[in-house]
């Protein structure tokens, strides 16, 4: 079913336009968006694990940095979908892209855990050192996003 969807996706006129003409432009925007997403997430993660920005409250940092992460993520998702559509049949069996999709899902679950569980008692440690579970969530995020970038780059080589 996913394969049929990918076939349909590649046959759309927008996918054809990206494939024949706009791929480098869309890819450039994708790289800019990813740099913003990953870089801003790392800023918050490094604060969470205690390596940087320790003098800032975590809530101050995240409330002012993460809106830019989400804007850039929307752009990365849109451009990434266009890049995928341009050669959907070819990318269907691409192992790095499949791993990347799984890692993205795990990064989302990790973020959801932090949002709904990890930061429930944030008032107690907002200005100081986060508890071990929150720090682990930060390390996990750093590892997952590194893997996501690696898989994205690797996808172009298989």
């Amino acid at each position: 079913m996913i394969h049929a969807f990918f076939s349909w996706l590649q046959a759309t006129s927008i996918a054809q336009a990206v494939s024949t003409r706009w791929f480098p432009v869309v890819e450039s925007v994708h790289v800019l968006a990813i740099a913003t997403v990953v870089g801003t997430i790392f800023i918050v993660d490094l604060r969470l694990v205690g390596l940087s920005s320790r003098s800032l409250r975590l809530t101050t940092l995240s409330s002012q940095v993460l809106p830019w992460t989400w804007r850039a993520f929307a752009l990365a998702l849109a451009t990434g979908t266009l890049l995928l559509a341009a050669n959907a049949e070819g990318y269907y069996g691409n192992a790095p892209l499949r791993i990347k999709a799984v890692l993205l899902l795990l990064a989302g679950l990790n973020m959801a855990w932090f949002q709904f569980v990890g930061r429930r008692d944030i008032a107690r440690w907002d200005a100081g050192r986060p508890p071990v579970a929150a720090r682990r969530s930060g390390w996990l995020s750093l590892i997952l996003w590194t893997g996501i970038v690696a898989c994205g780059r690797w996808a172009g080589f298989v």
Partner: protein
């Protein structure tokens, strides 16, 4: 010795041959390169957004610059090292590439603008027209470095 001769000499050397025949080295180098680009770009973005009136508004400009600009200087040596290794691997792809030349010019200008912004922020936290122009220039130049870098693959 022309650039083409140099490219041929470089790609025939042991270092280039090693990178060319070992699977995974080029994407691994590119991954480290992109991760450093991400940290650098986000750090520049934080300072530029602060100057432009969003981002870390509650912090004085000086504090934001002191927090993020050193990360830019730490990333640049890693970017130069991974970038140099990628050139050693495929010199002919890069050295005569106009997009690579544009990337280097934009990089030099971006470093100059970042140094100026850092010097201004250390002097005072006041934000004037000069700082705003610098913040726009910084965003534009770093974005140009990134896009021109990607276009090395499409221009020859």
């Amino acid at each position: 010795m022309t650039i083409d001769d140099f490219s041929q000499w470089l790609s025939a050397g042991a270092a280039s041959q090693f990178i060319q025949v070992t699977p995974g080295i080029i994407p691994a180098l590119q991954t480290v390169h992109i991760l450093c680009v991400a940290v650098l770009f986000a750090a520049a973005l934080m300072v530029d957004l602060r100057i432009l009136g969003s981002g870390l508004r509650d912090e004085p400009l000086r504090a934001v610059a002191d927090r993020f600009i050193p990360s830019i200087w730490r990333c640049i040596p890693v970017l130069l090292a991974t970038g140099a290794l990628l050139i050693v691997a495929e010199p002919a792809r890069t050295l005569t590439n106009p997009s690579f030349f544009l990337k280097l010019c934009a990089l030099a200008a971006a470093i100059a603008v970042t140094l100026a912004l850092q010097a201004f922020a250390r002097g005072s936290s006041r934000v004037g027209a000069l700082q705003v122009a610098g913040a726009f220039a910084s965003l534009l130049l770093w974005a140009t470095v990134i896009v021109a870098g990607r276009y090395i693959a499409y221009v020859s």
